[in-house]
Amino acid sequence: MPKRPLYEQVDEVVQAMLVSLQPRPEKAPHRDVAPLAAIARELRDLPREEFRATLKSNLQRRASMSTNEGAESSAVAAAKAVHYMRPGFTSITPYIIVNGAAEFIEFLKNAFAGTERLRVPMPDGKLMHAEVAVGNGMIETGDANEQIPPAATDIHLYVKDADATFDRALEAGATSIYRPTDDHPSGDRWGALKDRFGNNWYIATPKGWTPGPEGLRSVQPYLHLREAHNMIPFMEAAFAAEDVGTHKSPEGRVLHSTMRIGNATLEIDEAHGQYQPKPCHLHVYVPDADAMYAQALKAGAVSIEPPTDKPYGDRSAAVKDPFGNTWYLNTFLGK
């Protein structure tokens, strides 16, 4: 059979692609067809020139008349307070800064069946930001740098089967502090382990108790604090948190406390033994970031960044609490 010219062979491949069929395999494909097909495949997403030009001129028009954008978007945020949380997030999300964020994500996947939702790398390969869904909660992470050092966080993780998760975490490289037991004071089946990034994980399967109408949140930051009893009134005043349940020793030491903000909780206790304070980063969705920021400063928090509209669709402020934890107070602006 006479060999067909290259332009015919290439057009056959292109035509097949354009009607969404797989290119038919050639019996004796010309050595140049495959790389040309690869170029053709990319060109299917080539933008329309008219669209490129129209968007440019629309942006120019917008640029010439946009002076009050900031004020407008704040008003929009207030009007949409009901939808103040980014979809997929709860009210409280730990933001764990590590050396080796990519490896940390692998650990979350392997140990806790985490699902990577977003990864934004830097040009040098380090991660600027990433989001991993774990159970019905979220963990955010990013690589440390000179100005933001690693900040490990202790997490109380609710799972269906504490023993199975515990074993999987060990296989993924975690080390045991103690295996799941029924003797934990919480009444839950509860074990503890630590990962190589310095985070402790308290793996628990609940036995009946639920902290709120929405049920248990899978991911709950657990803060070991010095003078932990001072955190309760601070969180109430600064973040309109609610004390869901606090157990104190006769001397007034916080043995355990659950604090709720919005639809999520975090836990605190008095630092003891190997469970020492780890100033961490917490991402909190609130209905009105501006109001919450002002309230937090009044309660004694220190400003890191006043509220600003972020390009990813949140209005965000940052404050530090008296214990050294960073709180990002965000309102999802929605669309």
């Binding site: 968007l55 990577e116 790398p121 990813y312």
Partner: protein, 200 residues
């Protein structure tokens, strides 16, 4: 609280990176463009010209239909323009900032679609992974199409953007079908050569 809002990220390494190569010639130049646009939004043009292919190419690769890709690309640039003042130069390339907005736009769209038409028990998880090399490859390819000889460029647009048949394209350009196939081949070969750093 996302990275763009966190104080100081590590400055970019002095070696040129894919984002820098395909963006402004150097971080310093890009920084000047951003600062110019921050003080005068009318100068956002220059940033749009530099980054359009990157943003569109990334989004088109995620959503796979042209109308959605155009909607989301518009959304990203409008957001970027509206929030330009919040971008701070801390060694994070402007392209990374834009792509972050784009990635969130893709995720939000997917979540919205689920809310409006929940067919499954769990919302879809787009699992956006920004593959910088792939994004840069596409952006460069798309820009090179604009530099093709006029007839080749028209053939590429007729075939790949408008998805016209060889016959229609031939009629519109007043050429034979064989000539259109030849032009299509030459355009692809030239693009391939340029992408590989060879002279066409």
């Amino acid at each position: 609280m996302k990275a763009t809002g966190r104080p100081g990220r590590k400055t970019a390494s002095p070696k040129s990176t894919p984002l820098q190569k395909a963006g402004a010639n150097a971080p310093a130049e890009e920084r000047l463009l951003v600062e110019a646009a921050q003080s005068d939004p009318a100068r956002f043009d220059a940033l749009y010209e530099l980054h359009f292919e990157r943003v569109y190419g990334f989004i088109a690769g995620r959503v796979h239909d042209r109308a959605s890709a155009e909607d989301l690309t518009s959304e990203v640039f409008y957001k970027a323009l509206a929030n330009l003042k919040s971008y701070e130069w801390r060694g994070v390339p402007f392209a990374a900032w834009l792509l972050r907005i784009a990635a969130n736009a893709v995720i939000d769209r997917s979540q919205r679609a689920f809310r409006e038409q929940p067919m499954a028990e769990d919302p879809p998880d787009p699992g956006v992974h920004l593959d910088i090399r792939a994004i840069e490859y596409r952006a460069r390819l798309f820009r090179l199409v604009g530099q093709l000889p006029e007839t080749q460029r028209r053939v590429v647009h007729e075939r790949f953007v408008d998805q016209r048949s060889i016959r229609e394209t031939a009629q519109r350009l007043g050429k034979s079908e064989g000539a259109i196939k030849q032009l299509q081949l030459r355009a692809l070969e030239r693009l391939r050569a340029q992408m590989e750093g060879r002279h066409a």
